[in-house]
């Protein structure tokens, strides 16, 4: 269990939030909720609508598509944004592979948080560009 101040300190070190001021970080820390998952728990479920946006504070999770493990996510990584941005159900299961502590933002709130925090949107876009680049490399 972390206090809001501790969460602010933690996310300040994540690339996603690197360009935000302390008051902006404090405001964001209040909008997210903390959620923890035991080893083996499904966080996102492939094909089920209404999911949320998650940032990993501690632990690891696997990205599983149609039962096949595709990637591993760790501290500072985030997931769930693609299905929210596209208005679709997640295309993968996200399964805790170690006890997982996350910050979670409800899907409907993501749009406004991105609009209110352009530096955050830019950093998310950067991360998506890297994922796209890596996917293209993998295909070629």
């Amino acid at each position: 269990m972390a206090t809001r101040d501790e969460i602010v300190d933690q996310i300040a070190g994540f690339a996603l939030f690197a360009d935000l001021t302390t008051p902006q970080l404090e405001r964001i820390a209040h909008m997210f909720e903390e959620e923890v998952f035991p080893d083996g728990a499904r966080v996102l479920r492939q094909g089920l609508s209404g999911s949320a946006f998650y940032i990993i504070l501690d632990g690891e999770a696997e990205v599983v598509i149609d039962g096949t493990q595709r990637a591993t996510l760790a501290r500072g990584d985030f997931f769930g944004e693609v299905s929210i941005l596209l208005g679709e159900a997640p295309g993968a299961d996200i399964v805790a592979s170690r006890p997982l502590r996350t910050l979670v933002l409800a899907g409907p709130a993501v749009h406004q948080v991105l609009l209110d925090n352009p530096p955050l949107m830019y950093r998310m876009l950067q991360a998506q560009a890297r994922r796209l680049r890596n996917a293209n490399r993998w295909r070629s």
Binding site: M1, T3, R4, D5, T21, P23, Q24, E26, R27, A29, H30, M31, E33, E34, E35, V36, F37, P38, A41, R42, R45, G47, L48, S49, G50, S51, A52, P99, R101, V104, L105, A106, G107, P108, A109
Partner: protein, 521 residues
Amino acid sequence: MAELSQAGGDRSADPRPFPPGDYPVVVVGSGAGAIQVSYSLRRNGVDHAVLSADPSPGGMFRRWPFFQRLLSWTKPYAPVARDSPAYERYDWNSLLADGPGERAIMPDLMDGTSYFPSRPEMELNLATFVERTGTLIRYDCRWTATRREDGPDGERFVLETTDGEYRAATLVFAVGVAEPYSPPTPGIELAAHYADTRPAETYAGKRVFIMGKQNSGFELATGLLPWARRIVLCSPSPAKLSVNTRSLVGVRARYVQPFEDHVLGGGVSVLDASIGGIVRGEEGSGSPFLVTVRPSDGGEDLAIEIDEVISATGFVTPLLDLPALGVTTFGQARLPAQTAYWESATVPGIFFAGTIGQGSAGLKKHGLPANSGAVHGARYNARVLAAHIARRVGSERPAGPTIAAAGLLDRIIAEIATAPELWHQRAYLAKVISLDPSSGPRDEGIVPLAAFVDAAGDDGAGNAIALTLEADGSGAIYPVLYLRQAGKVEERPIDADALLRFDTPAARSQVAAILVEAGVG
């Protein structure tokens, strides 16, 4: 159930029930959650003890809400008969029972001045339920510590109490989220907590700074409107209003008056700012305190002169030494991390009921939480939990009653149109109908939706349909059918209806098509 140790008379000369000793299950608490779990365990034939530090039933309702009026309504006059299960949709405060005279107790105790019961009415509602159902509780018995030891049937827990030691393999804690929490803000010791708020008239003519913009903060502001000279409500993020989120997330409508006062310039200020600190005002300044705040939008720091500071920053879960035993907690409320069946995610055998059950978040679709933090959600969780524990401690789970194939459509329509569990615990609790071809459709009862979709529920992992009601934050409420076939789960939403009728020809047609898809149409 007289054969169970509820009477406890053969164990001790103490006239109170449940003397120290060995029990299959021990429940801690005497609020709505504990009472509902105990009642439901008894209905499932599970021998157990119930212990409480309090002298009488009621839990938090023995003291709060501070201004003595609940947020949860009971409608004495509803669209359905009071003696039908469907009435529970309109009565958020009565506990669940099977016997006549034990159900829908709340409306009979209300004085008609509001459809929100007063605190004393709610306390009486719970005490009346305890009396009429013969629920036994050992009062004035405080849980003080917990440890593990090896027992004759494996590891078990030892609860140390002011009356002695209790041993059980299964513990259920329903002790509320009731320990005042204040953030580590510099100078916080100068603030009173919500729990220590004085009578409203003692704030007459004062300038009051309230830390926190959730229901408790707005409740205080509402109560102080006729008394305080100025009220400042402050927290870093904007206040959410339930009428905007179209859910129970946010400040409830009956506490919105201070917000209107703020937007109309009447003397209430609602600030989005982090609180830098609280210091004493200079001698002779006429301001006992100075609160420094930093606006979240990056504006200049503000120094606010104030007479009283109240921290309405919530409560934490009083888990005593359970974290040291391995119970993982999370969030500001220090809720225990839980499985879909409200068991500690890290210490098997320890369960949670009542408002603590909100730590089992479920799917939380579209960001909307279940109502587990309120009586009208927790009472259904408790019933499911009791059946789950009954299965764990050895009771054979009977096969669900069969449903004639010809009546399956009618049954589903009836459930999505009226089932109170589905209405109150949306996208959280589901009615499950198994579809084993050899036995035909069977009613498997209510199961946490998260357990169903992960094939980890008491209904098993076979082909089945789960029925829920759901909302997406747009204001629409609609049924969803989940098809579990060959281990894969897919959802099939039914169209929303402006009048919330799901027994219409349109709904029947959609459900019928889904049953065909499931191979039972």
